[in-house]
Each structure stands twice: as C-alpha cells, then as structure tokens.
Amino acid sequence: QVSDGVVKIGVLTDLSGTYSDLAGKGAVLATKMAIDDFVAAEKPGFKVELVSADHQNKGDIAANKAREWFERDKVDVASELVTTSVALAVQKIAKDKNKIVLMSGPGSTAITNESCNDVSVHWTYDTYALANGTAKAVTQAGGKKWFFLTADYAFGHALEKDASDVVKANGGEVMGAVRHPFPGNDFSSYLLKAQSSGAQVIGLANAGGDTINSIKQAAEFGITPKQSLAGLLVFITDVHSLGLKNTQNMYLTEGFYWDLNNETRAWSKRFFDQHKRMPTMVQAGQYSSTMHYLKAVKATGTDDTAKVMTQMKKTPINDFFAKNGKIRDDGRMVHDMYLLQVKKPAESKTPWDYYHVKATIPAAEAFQPLSASRCALIKK
Amino acid sequence: MNKDIILQTRGLTKEFLGFKAVSDVNLEVERGSIHALIGPNGAGKTTVFNLLTKVHAASSGQIQFKGQDITRESQVQVARRGMIRSFQISATFAHLTALENVRVGLQRKRTDSFNFWSSQKRLDALNGRAMELLEAVDLAQFADIVTVEMPYGRKRALEIATTLALDPELMLLDEPTQGMGHEDVGRVVELIQKISANRTILMVEHNLSVVETLCDRITVLQRGAVLAEGDYATVSNDPRVLEAYVGVDA
C-alpha cells in the first residue's frame, strides 16, 4: 500500500552553485517530465508529488534538508544529489530513516564502495567509468605518456588514481602529476610543468571551473595542439561554455549524449524546448531513475523501501537513457557509456552539435567490476 | 636639601622622527605638592605625561618614581606603582554607569578581575566605597546614569573619581578644566584642593587662575624644554615666560 496514497519525490540539487548548470533546474525539470510522463502513461492509483531544494553544495545543508524531508515531510525518495559530500551525507541519513536515494549527479566511487548500502542507487556515472573510458581509449589510441593535473582533494586524488591504473594496465606510463589547490584560477604554472614533462597526454583530474580554466589556458599556451588533453570529468555544459575552439579534439566519456539516436534526440528536444539547453547526462539520468522508481512502485503497489528496491533491482532498465541497464547489489546502475571526441568548430553543424561518438563502452567494461568492490554488501 | 621627591626625571627626551617634542627635561615633583606644567600649545606637556605613564618610550633620560627607576617599565607596571593619569580628552567608560566607572577603578586592587565565572554581584561589595567617591566629586545623583548621557563637566569629575578609586600616590591630571564652563571650573578646583590632601598631583593646565589658586610649584615648558620653574609669583613675573607663554611684555 502506498502510504497516504502519495509518492513524494525530493530533488535535492545545486540550484545556485558550481553544479547548477549541469544539474540544478534542469534536473528538477527532468524529474517533472518523468512524473508527468509516468502519470500520463501509467495512470497510477496514487498521487506523485515533487519537492525540490537547493543544497548549495554543502553537506550539512543537504543533510538537514534530507532529514526534514524524511522525518517531517514524508518524502519517499531523495534524488539527484550532485557533489559527493552531499551524496555521502544523504546516503547515511536515508539508511537511518530507511528511505531510498537515487543519485544521478555525484561522481565518487565511494558511494558504491565504502559508503554503499541497500537503499542507494548510483545511476548515471562515476569517476571510475569516466577515467576508465577516457584513459583506456586514449592510451590504446597511442597516448602512452601521461601527466596528471589533479585537484588537490579526495575526489581529484581518486580520479587520478583510477586513471593511472587504467593507463598502466594498458601499457601506458605516468610521467608525473601536479596537485593544484582547489579551486584555482590560474593553471599556467602547472601546465608548463606538464608541458616540460614530455608527456603526450595531460589528464585533467579536476572538475567544473578548474577543468574549464585548465583547458582554456592549455590552448592559450599552445600546449594543446602538441600535447592532447583528456578531461576525466567533463560535461557537455563545460564544452558549451568553453566553445569548440578551446576544446576541439579532446576525448571524454559520458553516460549520455543527446545526439546518439532518434530516441535520445526526441527526448532531448522536449527537454530543450522547456530548458533552452540540451540535457546533460545528469539530467537525462535523473529522468531515467525517477521513471524506473515510479514504475517499481506501481509494480509492487507499495512505497515500502525494501520491496521497491527489490523490484528496481530485478527489473532491467530500458529507456532512451539506458539499454539493459541493471542495478547491482552495491547500488551501481550499470549501463553503456560513450567515448566521445569534441568536434572541430568547422565540423559542428547545429548548436549543441559537439561530439563525435568514438566508441560505446559496454556496461560490463564501463564500471568497476564487482570483484574489485570494497562494498560490505558484496560477499566474496 | 632633604625635600621628599616622589617623581624625578633626568634628561628626559622624546624625539618623533627627528622632531624633539621633549628635550632634556629635569623635573622634580615634591611629595604632597600640587605641581603644574604649563606652556604654549605643542610645548610637550602631554608628551611628558605620556612619557611618565609609558604611553611612549623615552628616547633618552631617566624617570624615577618613589626612588625606583621606572624608565623601562610598562604602562601597567607604572600604574600599579601608584601613578595614575587622567586624559586631556575626557576618558570615561562611556557605556558604563558612573558607579560602574568608579568600580572599574576600585576593582583593580582586587584579585578577582579575571573571574569570568563568578557573578558581578561580588562587586556590589564595592558599591559603598564607590558611592563615597561619587559623593566626594558631587556625583552621587548620577550613580546610575550611563556616562555618555552625562554633561561634559561631570565627566571630568567622574574621571577624577575613577582615578581616585585607585588611591594613587601621584595623580597626573591633563587639563582637568578644559572645556568647562565657569561653575564647573570652580567645582573642579575645589575638588582638586580636596583630594590633594594626602597625595601628590601633577597637572597640565592652561587656565592660569586655576594654576594660581592651586599650585605650589610651576614648571613652564617651551618647545620641549624647561623654560622656567618656581612658584606662581616667580614664574608669572619671569619675562621669558611672559614673552613665550603669555605673549605680552611685562
């Protein structure tokens, strides 16, 4: 039985900070689209409500809000949660309160390893998948010598480590790394160091504004044509704001691109009409996870956490976002990822036409294998 | 001579970036006297006070207080030895009541000033003495008035009461009558007379009639140096003083 006859979905996202472009209002919109589509198509016997809040990328604000939602406002699921610190905090609270978390925005692999639990689903991507996708492809394509520009905090370190492992596993070599304070604004010193290291590829193990400025300044110092950049965490909004001139030829990995096939184009067009920007993978993933959850509630006829989780895990995900996606026991939703290369300005035909799809990384390869999992739920 | 000298300076000099504000001042203040320091504006009177109370360090020279060399001591140490000053610009604690102002003075000698855990009710024990002091300066009716709200002349009186609370052996008063009306001046003069009973007072004063009524001895400074010294009659007839300070030939 659905309690009170209402399923309440909370979107806890960054509405004002660094990640508000790649998640933010667009993620709320995607959730709303999912709910509307679900209600229209499935005519459920319960009501679906949406609440949203700005966590300002602060763990304590997020934790506070999530508690309030779970304890007071009868919210059944907290979703999106861009920024790892926010995700980790909310994951813990959800477990305490026995509620579901659907994470589309955050990237850290800690979510499905050290911090894993049985109420969380990590939907769209993680740093392992990004690093793995990009680093592997670039190394295999001949970029053997790497140098890392790493944001000096846990997230950056993890990204660097994941990518280094992949580089080495594929016969590459890491020439060095420099750790820059976070956030920074001038990266020229580090880039110069990277330049003189003799590496072919500069791996950007940072995010957001740091990545953007690194890319921009690499172009400025004439580094990019000779050495290539590999963005380990780059979103389409970043490419959009940098422009193709600065980003051309860069490799990156995403879980979604609007221009993959008719289905993605159709959905993205609907999204674009309302948001005036193409969806990021986070926003697309947000739609997908919400829809999957709602379908599970309908299927089980209850909003009971354990039952819904079981249902979600046993049902494969098939929509415009994922083909045969599957939620593993550690909470990781595995699906295909895409290796992309940024087009040259001349190759871009229409607005937001930014990527060449170089390869599809099959779900089985894209994510950290369960054998390497540090999640306590995984019995080895 | 066996005068009882409470304060003595030898060769006291203060330079500000090459400018000698006080130069080679030898000052002797006799215990129990009222001693005045006068001189034109900028003669260095306030600076002498600042040197004595260690607001500034002397460039050279010595200061002896009660026979001890205090040249290298700190403001706090000097105050604790019993030399307390008032300021040229009124210096009260503006947001405390008159009573509390005086208690700040009384509290100094107690050991509990660092007690942040005990109630200030302990301080009520001081109220009796504080009221006495307020009465002595004719401020009893202002006891519960916050100082900012008091008239200027009363504040000067309050400052004196606070200074008195420490029962200083040597009081330095910097222009105690400055900015006061006729009646206030009279009151302060009386007050100083009253409190001078068993202590020494060194004061800076421009009002010569005040100096005349009160002071036993007068030192005239000009451009940082001592120009003349003596009792009022001597000094006020000294042609150099008339020239430099009063500005009229005799």
Partner: protein, 294 residues
C-alpha cells in the same frame, strides 16, 4: 643549468608566470589601497567590481558588438559610474563610523552582485576571446609566451605606473595625499573633498573593472571569479601596508612571483602561502611592509 633542481628554462618560465599573476594582484590591490587611503573603507566589493568589469566586456561583445579595446575603456567607466552611485547613496554615510561598517556594507553589495549574476548567467562561466591582434604567442626560448599574457603585464604595469605617477607626482595626487591626511583642512582651502572622495572610489572601482577586462580572455568570465580572488588581494594589501600605493604595487608583483614559485616547489601550499607570509609580516612589521606605523 638548473636552479633549485629545476631546469633554468622552466624556472624563468615560472618566474614570468608569477609576474603575470602578480600584475593582476598589483592592479587590484592598487585600487583597494587607493580607496582605503582616502575613504578609510575596506572595499569588499572590489572582487565584484572586477567581475563586473569582465562581464561588462563579455556582455558588450555579445549583445552590442563592442570589441575588446573599446571594452577596456567602457567597462571601467561603467563600473566607475556604478561606484559613484554606491558612494553617493551609501558609503558616504559611513565615514564617521568604524571601518567595520564599510567592510560589511561592501561585503553585502558583493554578495548581491554575485548572486544576481549567478541567477542570470549561471556559474560555469562564459568564454571571452582575446582580440585578433593579441592571439598567438611568442617563443621566448625558455618558454612559449602567449602574446595576450605579455600584453597583460604591459597593460597592468602601465596602469600601475600611471596611477603611481598621478598620485605621487601630480597636483591632483598632491591634493589626494593631502586630503587623506586632513580632509577638513583641505576642504577649507577650497577643494571640493566630497567630489574628490567620490571620484576616488570610482577610480578604484574602475581599476578593478580594468583588471576584470584584462582577465576575461584568460579566465572564464564567471560570477564568482572575484570572490575567489578578493581574499588573496586583501592579504596583499595588508602585507604591503594598508593605504600605501607603492607598497601595494610592489607587494602585488612580489607575491605573484612567490606564489608562482610555490606552485613549482610545493603546489599544494600555493593557496595558503600568501596567508602565511601575511601572518609573519604582521608579526614583525605590524603596519605591513610599506605602511606607516599609526
């Protein structure tokens, strides 16, 4: 040849980069120092004014087709005009009060400006191209120097020199210096000090905006670009000695270089080295390196 274990080539490269960043610090801290010197106000809005300068250039280009060179003049003028409004309507009332209030007011203004721009432009920032003339780079032997960066150093140093010259060597500057010392008396001598004060605030803000336009092609034009920088610039001004013009220029450049070298030897600490230096300097010289003891 090696210097401290790194090839001398790279070393010179890093020095030059430090100097480039230092010239931003110099222009920004110069503006702050001028404002503090005359108005006794700690202008927390300086970072926001820098950001406004950059956005001015970007908006001008994208909506009005105003090119870089024009923006370099117009954007500071516009920000200066805004500063006039701020000074006339708000700051003016605070001169009698503690520094604290000026700081808090400008802090509030900075928050508002930042918040507004976040609302309209998001935070990932906008890209601004360097003008044709300054694109590309030069091989200096020890490094490849983007022409634009070279221009930044030249432009920033020129502005600093001009500002220094105006303040230290002209009659306007003499009036300014006199007014810092005794505004009432200067006014009694027939100089319109209130207007001078307004103009000074506007000039300081315009300097910040100028730095913003200079920065636009290098960094992403971004609503938070100023708030990330402002704290460091404060430290620079404090180290140089509040209100000292020369102090802020020299310290700005010097700290840019020190920070640059830290990035080479101990990159993790480069964000904090300036604060360490600040604490040490203030312990030894309480009024800063070039400040006069109060």
């Amino acid at each position: 040849m090696e210097i401290f274990g790194i090839p001398s080539q790279a070393f010179f490269g890093q020095l030059l980069l430090g100097l480039i960043n230092g010239s931003f610090y110099a222009v920004l801290s110069l503006g702050l120092a001028i404002i503090f010197g005359l108005l006794n106000i700690i202008n927390f809005a300086h970072g926001a004014q820098y950001m406004l300068g950059a956005f001015g250039a970007w908006l001008g280009l994208n909506y009005l087709g105003i090119n870089y060179w024009l923006a370099l003049v117009l954007s500071p003028l516009l920000v200066g005009a805004l500063a006039v409004v701020i000074e006339r309507s708000m700051l003016k009332r605070l001169y009698q009060l503690d520094h604290l209030y000026g700081l808090l007011l400008t802090f509030g203004l900075a928050l508002m400006a930042e918040g507004l721009f976040k609302n309209f432009f998001g935070v990932s920032g906008e890209s601004y191209e360097a003008p044709e003339l300054l694109q590309g780079g030069m091989q200096l032997g020890f490094m490849y120097l983007p022409i634009y960066r070279g221009w930044v150093v030249v432009a920033a140093l020129t502005v600093c020199l001009v500002a220094w010259y105006v303040i230290e060597r002209t009659s306007l500057g003499a009036t300014l210096r006199a007014a810092t010392q005794r505004p009432d008396l200067v006014q009694a001598l027939g100089i319109n000090v209130p207007v001078l004060v307004t103009a000074t605030y506007a000039a300081g803000a315009a300097l910040a905006a100028f730095a913003g336009v200079l920065a636009a092609p290098i960094m992403q034009v971004n609503p938070v670009m100023g708030s990330n920088l402002i704290i460091v610039v404060f430290a620079v001004v404090v180290i140089g000695g509040m209100g000292s013009i020369l102090g802020s220029i020299v310290t700005g450049l010097g700290l840019g270089v020190i920070e640059g070298l830290t990035k080479v030897f101990y990159p993790e600490a480069s964000a904090v080295v300036i604060f360490l230096i600040m604490v040490l300097v203030l312990l030894v010289k309480p009024a800063g390196l070039f400040g006069k003891q109060a």
